[in-house]
């Protein structure tokens, strides 16, 4: 028994000793993030321009910071996406990370409980010009008049297009641009035409093991019809004719075989790359990945295009959006730790262009207007999203729980497990029940 205890202790000492040695002369701060682990490919890369994809770029950015900073060591802690269950458990345990990545949609859950530090003064001191933030970013990180996070990107819902298949389907105009629907009727007609000419479904949809796809797409259809479904932040309204129309459209597309079936996220990502369908409805983060794919010989060879979610309802071109941001968690931080945390956030702010290479929209007006950003592939096609990206009102609580419920119910209707009316009714009831019991 004594031997065992000694062995246990020895293990602890080795483990903590290694990190303690590093932190001896610099202040160490823990930074919890998702985006995946890719030290194998990028573990020693400090030249961010050589990195690609979300994981590669964030890994290289942190490497670069650690190599350059004279005062701070960032210890990255990689967690599951989106990781809020565990972050919650960890905050409750009294040992939160110093910094965590956080979707702007969930900031208010944590800020309203006093779990985050407001950052206005720190940013002013560090020289972060908050007036340079885009409107979407600034709104996303501002809760009750205070800034609670360093915004990192705005990400929205797009159409990734396989131009090779679009050509085959006769859906490319004389200027070489894809022909996109301007109404729901056109959408149906073009999708049928695509299927007839190519023998493949028009859409790749992520339907398995997933709620985000359903919610983001459905929300977008509601925004486009100007349906104000969260007029009261404590009560959702899905009983509108707009909600019914939107969900019926998605259901029709599915039942008419105009989408791929049963794919999970991974399968849908590869399915589009393999040329199984014409349009993949997914997010900004895949632009760079597919752009690289288009340079290879494959189904996407020289034939990748991307566009903002086309406006198919007469209402507005608005589209679902959210943003990644970095929050400072409330705890007993020394002045040095807090300074280090802000130093790291400022570094990310300064290097926001690099992050925008993933495909995400930058959070700084100066970058959006820069020639450098405009020079990136496809960015002209999606610039409108910086204006049209729409998030749920900040006062809506538990937005990730809502996303799960809404996505489950919308999915049930699309796959035919429930009628459209029942799914909308159940979603409304469950979300309102959740919000009624949420402080």
């Amino acid at each position: 028994m004594r031997k065992l205890t000694t062995a246990l202790l020895a293990g602890l000492v080795i483990a903590t000793g290694a990190s303690a040695a590093l932190a001896a002369d610099k202040t160490e701060i823990s930074v919890s993030r998702f985006f995946g682990a890719c030290e194998a490919d990028y573990g020693s890369v400090t030249d961010v321009t050589k990195a690609n994809g979300e994981c590669g770029i964030i890994t290289a950015l942190i490497n670069k910071f650690n190599a350059e900073s004279k005062t701070t060591v960032v210890k990255p802690e990689i967690v599951e996406w989106p990781g809020y269950d565990q972050l919650t458990a960890r905050i409750r345990s009294g040992e939160p990370p110093v910094i965590s990545v956080m979707h702007e949609a969930v900031i208010s859950d944590y800020s309203s409980r006093g779990l985050l530090e407001p950052l206005d003064e720190d940013f002013a001191k560090a020289g972060v010009d908050v007036n340079d933030m885009t409107d979407a970013a600034r709104q996303g990180v501002t809760k009750d008049g205070k800034i609670y996070a360093m915004p990192f990107d705005t990400h929205t819902w797009l159409w990734h297009i396989n131009m090779n298949l679009f050509k085959q389907a006769g859906l490319v105009d004389s200027a070489g641009k894809p022909i996109l629907p301007k109404s729901t009727d056109e959408l149906m007609q073009q999708a049928e035409q695509f299927k007839a000419k190519t023998g493949k479904p028009y859409f790749v949809w992520t339907l398995a093991n997933e709620t985000a796809f359903y919610t983001r797409t459905f929300d977008t259809l509601l925004y486009q019809q100007n349906a104000n479904f969260f007029a009261d932040p404590n009560k959702v309204n899905f009983s509108s004719p707009e909600a019914k129309k939107g969900l019926q459209l998605l259901t029709d597309l599915y039942t008419k075989g105009l989408t791929t079936k049963n794919q999970d996220y991974a399968a849908s990502v590869s399915s589009f790359a393999a040329g199984d369908a014409g349009v993949f409805i997914c997010g900004t983060w895949l632009i760079d990945t597919y752009d690289q794919e288009a340079k290879k010989s494959g189904a996407l060879a020289n034939g990748y295009a991307v566009t903002a979610f086309p406006q198919i309802y007469p209402g507005s071109p608005r589209v679902w959006a959210d943003g990644h941001s970095w929050v400072l968690l409330k705890q007993d931080l020394s002045a040095a730790q807090r300074a280090s945390a802000v130093e790291f956030m400022k570094f990310l702010w300064d290097n926001d262009f690099q992050w925008a290479r993933t495909g995400h929209l930058p959070v700084r007006k100066s970058i959006i207007d820069s020639a450098e950003f405009k020079g990136l592939p496809h960015r002209g096609d999606i610039a409108s999203l910086a204006v049209n990206g729409t998030a749920l009102p900040a006062a809506v609580k538990r937005q990730f729980s809502i996303q799960d419920i809404e996505g489950e119910e919308v999915g049930s209707a699309i796959r035919g497990d429930k009628s459209v009316d029942q799914a909308l009714g159940d979603a409304e009831h469950r979300i309102n029940e959740l919000l009624a019991n949420t402080k």
């Binding site: 030290e39 996406w81 009294g94 590869s270 990945t289």
Partner: protein
């Protein structure tokens, strides 16, 4: 035993049965073979199609990558510490309590034993919310004790050891008492060695239980350096990893499953005997 084998083994029916079990066993191993093959393919190829698994080229890069990413080794170590800790703790506590309940009389013992048995009906998940609050209030999460200690409250081991001690003939310890041995000495020197088969059974169950536990470490070990292998692998199993790093994910799964699988193959014989021991009691 030999006779029963002959009976079961008689006739040609026997060969048919064995052949069909072999077929089932091959099917049984297919999922693992599939993951194994995928782990030798590059991420880029798998992103287009997993059909690529059936042709060249194969690569060892996914495995060499594991050695460059810090996580897995640390998680394996954590799992080992936790599982050994839980196993040792359960064996010690259950042996003592089992002897106590079976042999060492004191006032109110039988009522106490019934109360402990009632604990068998309390699933871990039914107390998990309250336990999480307790460890939070004590600021103990993200430590080895926090992951290990809850496992020691399980009544199963006490029940098993009590049954086992009861099955040992009483004259053995009565003889020792006549020799003026103390209670603890009788327990330690005379009876405990007789319970080795039960210890092995309980030890194996406890070790596997702790190694495979998921829910409690998921909410208690929330710092990546404290993850057990189960939680750690789950944390890398993101959408991203499955689309753009599938080969690496498969290699990680193989690598994380390997140590305990090798240990299992090594101890296979004893495990069978141990489980057999459990059934006798």
């Amino acid at each position: 035993m030999a006779a029963s084998e002959q009976i079961v083994g008689r006739g040609i029916g026997n060969k048919v049965i064995l052949a069909s079990v072999i077929v089932v066993a091959i099917v049984w191993m297919l999922p693992i073979a599939w993951v194994l093959i995928l782990s030798f393919k590059s991420n880029a190829e798998l992103m287009i199609s997993t059909g690529a698994a059936f042709h060249l080229p194969y690569t060892l890069k996914n495995y060499s990558d594991i050695f460059q990413t810090s996580g897995v080794f640390r998680w394996l170590w954590n799992s080992a510490v936790v599982s050994v800790g839980v196993t040792a703790g359960i064996l010690i506590l259950s042996s003592l309590a089992g002897y106590g309940f079976a042999r060492a009389e004191f006032k109110g013992r039988d009522i106490l034993f019934v109360l402990v048995l009632l604990g068998l009906a309390v699933p871990e998940q039914a107390v998990i919310i309250a336990r999480h609050q307790m460890f939070s209030d004590l600021r103990m999460h993200n430590t080895y004790p926090a992951i290990i200690l809850p496992g020691l409250s399980s009544a199963f081991g006490v029940f098993l050891m009590t049954q086992y001690f009861k099955a040992i003939p009483k004259d053995i310890d009565e003889a020792a008492m006549l020799d003026n041995a103390s209670r603890f000495k009788i327990f330690w020197k005379v009876l405990l060695p007789l319970t080795v088969p039960a210890q092995a059974t309980l030890g194996i169950f406890s070790f596997l239980g702790a190694w495979n536990d998921y829910l409690w470490p998921l909410i208690s070990a929330t710092k990546p350096e404290m993850f057990t292998i189960t939680v750690g692998i789950a944390s890398t199993q993101t959408n991203f990893a499955q689309s753009e790093g599938l080969g690496f994910l498969m290699a990680q799964a193989v690598f994380a499953g390997l140590p305990v699988f090798v240990v299992y193959l090594f101890f296979q014989k004893y495990i069978v005997r141990a489980v057999a021991g459990a059934a006798i009691s």
